[in-house]
Symmetry: C2
Subunit: 347 residues, 2 copies
Amino acid sequence: MPAIRLSRSGIGALATALWCTATIAQEPITLKDLGSFHVGGRYVEISGKPVKDVVFTPGGVPAKVDPNGTYLTGQMYVQYFIPQNQRGTLPLLLWHGGNLTGVTYETTPDGREGWLNWFLRKGWPVYNSDAVERGRSGWSMFPDIFKSEPIFLTTGNGYERFRIGEGVGSFNQAPTKRRQLPGSQFPAEGYDAWVKQVVPRWTTTDPETIDAYIAEVDRVCPCVILFHSQAGQFGFKVAQARPEKVKALVAVEPAGIGDPAKAADLKGIPVLMIFGDYIEQDARWPAIRKNAVEFGDRIKAAGGAVDVIDLPKVGITGNSHLLMMDKNNLEVAAVIQNWFEAKGLYR
Amino acid sequence: MPAIRLSRSGIGALATALWCTATIAQEPITLKDLGSFHVGGRYVEISGKPVKDVVFTPGGVPAKVDPNGTYLTGQMYVQYFIPQNQRGTLPLLLWHGGNLTGVTYETTPDGREGWLNWFLRKGWPVYNSDAVERGRSGWSMFPDIFKSEPIFLTTGNGYERFRIGEGVGSFNQAPTKRRQLPGSQFPAEGYDAWVKQVVPRWTTTDPETIDAYIAEVDRVCPCVILFHSQAGQFGFKVAQARPEKVKALVAVEPAGIGDPAKAADLKGIPVLMIFGDYIEQDARWPAIRKNAVEFGDRIKAAGGAVDVIDLPKVGITGNSHLLMMDKNNLEVAAVIQNWFEAKGLYR
């Protein structure tokens, strides 16, 4: 955020000049509105548990906490940014992937602007949410309400699974022992900062999550939805539940799909699927990609319009699964923006 | 957010006219910058647990998840909004209370602007965070890393404890059976929406939380800090750890205090304590308030400047513990703004 930065060496001065140019070139973001709300949720009853005396703050006054009673579960947090000069014709909903939150689309782990700011600067009203059970949506006791235990990721887990590098496995190792994939665009210096964005997740809460996304669509749409990874199934299934309200779907490396038997329900919604690099050499991603593309083929067979962009085939290489955080993240965003424009969703 | 709203009756038309006036009167918010980051956190090792095959998405490809290894814990999420026209002389850090997140300061549960927008419109650079273990900060497995079980609140829990009303206890009842306190400023229609903001909390993570707030102060300050309820202890203790970096403290109904033995460390920092209504009649709040005021007296005895404002004594009545969400929330914000101005922290 400093407007001016000084350096002591020639190389530093050059880097500084470039950096300042990038900073100065940034126009302010003017917002008509900025805020948040929760959607969805349902009430559940819990009984038979003992009352506890809880001191909430050291030295504070004890309060009785009766865990029995009614709880809200399954609500979802949405934060919105409405630009003053609106050029996207519809609200743009951003849905993140597994073990993550809406932070996915904010500042990158190494401190650059993310897709949220970029699309906002382009004039899109942006609605960024935290899926049920994650982030500011909150979560519920298990196994009483959520039916399984949550999954926690080790610091190293995403390194190979998200096609950033190799040599880590599920264990952390010193950064020097990590081997990033050749030509990788993921900001190596931001990996541990990205791990700070990781939150626990469940694998048994998909129905609640879908209900909450439908509640968001019912409140905000007509709209376009951009979704990543785990949200592949959410984006396609919610669009199948509300096909009249969803005007475009951008599936960023979708790890799940909609109901294949209802693929025809999506025939009126233009779909873009976008994939990064290193897929063919990966143990799991060829199957994940194939699953998504075949789902797209079903939509096309029913008369729909599905575009699949493999970034390396259009000359954009080195992208991990976390495209929106890679060093060329804005180049990838521009590919999506061009598609929106081609579909007549931008003025 | 619709710019025009139609109604079918005269009363509706009047309400619409007032509503539109309020909307039109709002100037856009122009931001120099908008983003987020995580601070703090440390690495911990977990061993001896079995490897699991996990299907993350229905129909997806199974992945091995080894729960053993290194985890990050104790990191904290911060979202920042930097106004183009800066009039607050320092960044304003907003720290929320227990079982809640930074959503506390965003749009009120009944859809009005909260303190975040209000201070932003006044020209303060605002840094709004989710405490460790809450919201977008994520949380860690227990009892392996966090040493106790979390506490979940029933839908009715805050109703009496936060001095909104009575007649609910810890059980939910139909809204018609709730009795809001006479003259209460809390938006009755927003209570259940507020419950959606509630997240689980621990009572054993204070040290990690303090470490993370110190990390935020080290990154962002010099600054002023506004904190609520549980964050009473965090605000005062962090200021005691970094007295040279904190230029003012606003304790909004603090439920905890700093180290009394080190009260003198705060003598150079102006302090405002602000309390709402219905305290004397409450079972717990007279003791909570007394504890805070006595801590303030220690700071004053050491030569510090502490102002205590009981809102009813300055003619502002009906405030619950959730002052920043009450119907007169902006009137309360103006009291704080006036204090900042009197302390020379605004230009």
